[in-house]
Symmetry: C2
């Protein structure tokens, strides 16, 4: 076990100025049998108009797939949670009288226990002073992390193409987003090192990255790149924010050989866990990683339930922010999710995740097969994703016959033309430039030299997550034909 580093010097003015309420000193008498406590403003749970919730869910091992509607009793699992613990209640349920009351900003203990056990199983964090707090999803976690670490005018590091909502969160808080070059496999560690070795002015406090199934790039960082990036973080004293909503949408590697696909699928729990990519938190010897986890892609976005894994000291600062903002996740969400997960157990949850892996692997295969079939090979490049919801297809705009004439040698003009041509043909993919991270410090950093090999590349982002497979193929066929036409092929 390694020892955690004190990183409180990286906290924001907002986080540093948060005070403890004097009321907290009184709350230690809340359960004192000798004291009648007239200090708190809690409504009586007698007046909560929900006496019992019953929820129907699929039961492990999900042998017909995770998307199948359970029909037999054996395929169903029933979660029943009452206002007050009843005779037939499970001891790991969260009664509604507690989940629907104030309190537990960090999270309900039963659910945190499940998640701690899950986290240890998956990530085997190499220091002991880590913990978990709840959030209401990674969008809110990221907003909270920015408020906890950055002031207006501070700079953070981001992938050169990133999730627009995450960039906008930083933008509105007045935080400069400095882009780091990426390739098919995400952030290029050498470029990151070079950038920071030559950095002018106050160093960035955070690197924000979506390391697995990056949005929009669809790329995933290898274990080696993660280790190299972690060393750079140690050298330049910044925190790595790993935003990992897609972590469990990892897939078997793509193969054109349809017969070989079956053989590549993971089946056992051990195979599944071993096949997962090394997370930043799993190599975090110093407590320098803040991991944002979420049920949005694994169970459902509307649970509005996520969690943050980090060293305890830093989590305390985020809890203080949550106390005066979100307070806690929904009690319905907490009781229902906790009820389901404890009934499934850690093993049943892994069964679910294995099922999810199979679904996404198949969708990805269908998408890549269609790209392979319909897109003009002469001008395109793609790297089949191994995680996430997104694929990208790159085009060499300079190969457009009218590049130097009609398009003034501007690749973005080709991008617009191709987007519109696709739309006319009845298929919408998102132009890559819409995800561009832009930001410059003052004084400015030294510009990256122009890469002659890639300067005319454009790309489009598509998803295989949200559409039925026949539509997916149809959409890609249409876009591929439009591309042939646009490039005169």
């Amino acid at each position: 076990m390694s020892t955690v580093k004190d990183l409180t010097h990286l906290l924001s003015d907002e986080a540093k100025s948060r005070r403890n309420s004097p009321l907290k000193t009184a709350f230690k008498y809340f359960n004192d049998p000798n004291v009648v406590f007239l200090g708190g403003g809690l409504p009586l749970s007698d007046y909560f108009p929900w006496n019992k919730i019953t929820v129907e869910s699929p039961a492990p091992p999900f042998k017909n797939g995770i998307g199948a509607t359970p029909s037999t009793a054996e395929e169903k699992i029933i979660t029943e949670v009452s206002k007050n613990a009843a005779e037939n209640s499970r001891s790991d349920d969260i009664p509604l009288s507690r989940s629907l009351q104030y309190g537990h900003t960090g999270g309900q203990p039963e659910l945190l226990n499940f998640l701690r056990e899950h986290t240890q199983l998956i990530h085997k964090i190499p220091y002991s002073e880590w913990d978990i707090i709840q959030s209401i999803g990674n969008t809110q976690s990221w907003d909270g992390v920015l408020r906890t670490f950055t002031n207006r005018g501070d700079t953070i590091l981001v992938e050169d193409f990133s999730f627009p909502s995450a960039l906008e969160t930083a933008n509105a808080l007045g935080v400069i987003q400095f882009p780091i070059p990426t390739d098919d496999f995400g952030i290029i560690p050498e470029k990151l090192a070079e950038t920071l070795d030559n950095w002018v002015g106050a160093k960035p406090k955070l690197l924000y990255t979506i390391p697995t199934g990056q949005n929009p790039l669809g790329s995933s960082l290898s274990a080696d790149r993660r280790k190299a990036i972690y060393k750079i973080a140690q050298k330049h004293d910044f925190i790595i924010i790993e935003d990992e909503p897609y972590y469990f949408l990892q897939m078997d590697t793509y193969t054109k050989d349809v017969e070989a696909r079956q053989g590549k699928a993971v089946h056992s729990h051990k195979q599944f866990i071993d096949a997962l990519v090394t997370s930043f938190i799993s190599i975090d010897t110093e407590g320098r990683v803040v991991r944002l986890d979420s049920f949005s892609k694994v169970l459902a976005p509307g649970t509005r339930f996520g969690w943050i894994v980090a060293q305890k000291e830093l989590l305390q600062s985020i809890i203080k922010l949550h106390e005066t903002s979100i307070q806690s996740a929904s009690g319905f969400s907490s009781s229902i999710i906790n009820g389901l997960l404890n009934r499934w157990g850690q093993d049943g949850y892994i069964d679910w995740l294995i099922g999810l892996r199979a679904e996404y692997t198949h969708k990805r295969d269908v998408a890549i097969d269609a790209i392979e079939k319909y897109f003009p090979k002469q001008v395109t490049h793609y790297n089949p994703p191994v995680a996430g919801m997104f694929f990208t297809v790159q085009f060499d705009a300079s190969k457009h016959p009218n590049f130097a004439t009609e398009f003034d040698s501007d690749p973005l003009k080709v991008e617009t033309a191709l987007y519109e041509k696709g739309l006319d043909a009845g298929a919408l993919l998102i132009p890559g430039s819409w995800f561009t991270a832009k930001g410059q410090t003052n004084p400015p950093q030294k510009p990256q030299p122009v890469d002659e090999a890639t300067k005319n590349h454009i790309f489009f982002r598509g998803t295989y997550a949200a559409v039925p497979l026949d539509q997916l193929v149809l959409g890609l066929e249409r876009f591929g034909k439009a591309a042939h036409q646009e490039f005169g092929l």
Copy 2:
């Protein structure tokens, strides 16, 4: 109908810098039948592991009181919400496939419709361009409002004693909280006017007030005071934030005459609505009020569901913040609350609120009876609350026999002594000074002249909401005896 005023000049730098995502322009093709939309990253609802939720609640008219556990079928109402709308679904239910999906940051239409109808019934807002958006409770709404309107270093107006969490939210954002004097009936309009007429430097943008059942004071502003304050807001161009979690914990006025109490209770829906105090939003002719509403005290805090009522233009700025932070309330909360409210109907909901009024009126009566009986009249003053969860008891510290000697004529030292004496006797009430709002602008405003009549007054805040009635009486008896002892009476 009056016309709404453009108040966008009061927006914060953060709100002004929020940009629209280019992705939004693509989303107009989301439901276009001619376009295969591969643009969005939504998980399929087939993979949400919740097929059906069934919730048991009490049914109107709650004739045994709102705290009674329903036993007969007639006393129960069952809300059943499925993943996909089924044959027996109600058309006003929110299916889980939608509530658990991304989207609807402003709120699910069915629930917003119910709340709009409710708002119109209660407040009869005098301009037409108002609307409602969801939040996850007033603590988060207030955080969002501060971010939408204030920059670090800005000043807001607050009651001289206020909710510590709300003050801390502003403090951490670097917003100065300038206190306005209050008396038994809340903010004193003349003092507010005087303060602003003599204001030095940039005017405050907001007045933050808990007008009904104020925390900690227990006071409620009269309709006349609200009208006077609204005029001052018009004159000095600030926005009134009315934080109203206790609005429906209004009670019949206190009477010592036990027999007369029955006669004062409201029974009909019309009586109930007519008896409600005039809200700021109901006299808001210009769209200058932002009302924060919540189910926390009316249904349950853990719903983490609240809503903001204001002019549409200002709400748009808050929605943009929500898109990159909380995203939305929990889908479970939305489906369950909406299911219950629509089954109750507007009338059933009013029945519930009438039941709540009866419960709180009774609790308040028990508390005030006990104060009347056990507290030393010679040194105390109280004003029976007509709303909320809290009562306060004022003490004249200068009447302490050792005021000038042991306590150096410092009322706060008497407060501490009395707090500790109460605690030793087994009763905890919160010292009023813990709620003090402190804040001074730079350059400073002219200090309020010291009020000789009240300068030695201290107070304690207690609640009748959270404890069984026998404990409430026992606690007040203990504290009253401790006060007698401390003051040598």
